[in-house]
């Protein structure tokens, strides 16, 4: 695995919210203008720091959901009822407000066109965000690496980027997107339901001989189950990259 050693100092910048998009009832995408943003690779994340008037501070990490675009970075935030930072970002922060962030962070769970494929992108819930940055980069760069994306949602109303994913599935060559619903499927759904287990991965993922490059992101339970099943099916563990993404902060 090639290493992008990113050893410059990460300093806090004051970013301004320039766009806020509702993705689902619980999830919003926030686009920020970050002065002197140094650029990032699809899959990297950033840290947000909030400071209250009494000096109290909280920090959290969020994956970047879009490829590099000048000083613009987009994160996708799920409102967690018992959270402290996510409800502020989804419900309080308004266009024109500013906040501190720094990044990009992480050089391992990243994909660029020269990494090749075929690509297997597997996500549960808001774990789709860094994978969406990779998929958007694949399309933006007019790259032809074949992609299979497997997305696990609790219910139909939880699908993030739904319109864009539907358009990509319809129009893009070499991109197959499969959704599964673990609690309740949308009305009239004839597709897959239930968790992404070994049988589903055997049917939907590439075969081990096709040597896919797999990126798996989501809650720990999904990541552990999917990564273990891929290895059991014969995929090279060194080509299965994981990132935990969930309410527990890990």
């Amino acid at each position: 695995m090639a290493r992008a050693a990113i050893l410059r100092r990460l300093t806090w910048a004051i970013a301004e919210l320039v766009d806020r998009t509702d993705e689902t009832p619980r999830v919003r995408s926030l686009t920020l203008d970050v002065p002197d943003w140094p650029g990032h690779l699809p899959g990297q994340h950033l840290d947000v720091r909030l400071t209250a008037e009494d000096g109290y501070q909280a920090q959290r990490s969020y994956s970047i959901a879009r490829p590099v675009d000048g000083n613009r970075v987009t994160i996708t935030v799920e409102h967690l009822d018992d959270g402290e930072v996510s409800p502020y970002l989804t419900d309080v922060l308004e266009v024109g407000d500013r906040m501190e962030l720094r990044g990009p962070i992480g050089g391992y769970f990243v994909w660029e066109p020269d990494r090749g494929g075929p690509l297997l992108l597997v996500a549960g819930g808001s774990g789709v965000a860094p994978l969406m940055a990779m998929l958007r980069e694949r399309l933006r760069a007019r790259n032809n690496v074949p992609v299979r994306m497997l997305l696990s949602w609790r219910s139909g109303e939880d699908v993030i980027y739904a319109d864009e994913l539907n358009a990509i599935a319809r129009d893009a060559t070499g991109v197959e997107i499969t959704h599964t619903f673990t609690r309740s499927a949308p009305d009239g759904w004839t597709g897959r339901t239930g968790r992404l287990e070994r049988e589903a991965l055997a049917a939907l993922a590439w075969t081990p001989s096709e040597r896919p490059l797999a990126y798996v992101c989501g809650p720990t339970g999904l990541v552990e189950a999917v990564a273990s099943a891929l290895v059991e099916l014969g995929h090279d563990p060194a080509r299965v990259l994981t990132e935990r993404f969930g309410p527990t902060g890990g």
């Binding site: 050693a5 990113i6 209250a52 909280a58 402290e84 500013r98 391992y108 720990t220 273990s228 902060g249």
Partner: protein, 201 residues
Amino acid sequence: MSFISRGFQRRQAPVAPSDRLPPGQYVTRDFPVLSAGPTPRIGLDEWRLELIGEVDRPRSWSWQEFTALPAEEITDDIHCVTKWSKLDTAWTGVPIDALLDGVETSAAFVVAHSYGGYTTNLPLDDLAGGKAWVAYRYDGEPLEPEHGGPARLLVPHLYFWKSAKWLRALELRADDAPGFWEGYGYHNYGDPWREQRYSGD
């Protein structure tokens, strides 16, 4: 001076005294899992722990030999660079001092090697002197694979990525060599109390 976020305030009463929670951290009651790839599964009959590198002679322990070494009960707080801290975690482990007993070395640094290929680097002084263990039980139970079992490094005073899961070998070295995350821009030392998350912090 930090930028004040309009309308942001603490949502919960502090759950830990400030001398227990390093800057930028929050307390979790879960035990989150963080790793870069699939969880390696290592059978106890094939498991070995090795001490290699700048030593008078390499050492190696089978699972039976390792778990026959004098172990200690450790209760301490752990701090992950992804911002969560978990208080009063309870472990059983062999102190690194016991593994180093009788070893002649001029090394000043250690690279911990894991099954699965992960590495992390630390000064030898941070592993010796009762500050670090090779842990193999958590909360009285065998350490689960997703938390680093059969055995993991436990270095509670540094960010938890330094506590390498699935420990396979400790390599003693004269010179320092960055490990996995350290090579991707994470801090070389990783003291949570000085908030050394990333290179340059």
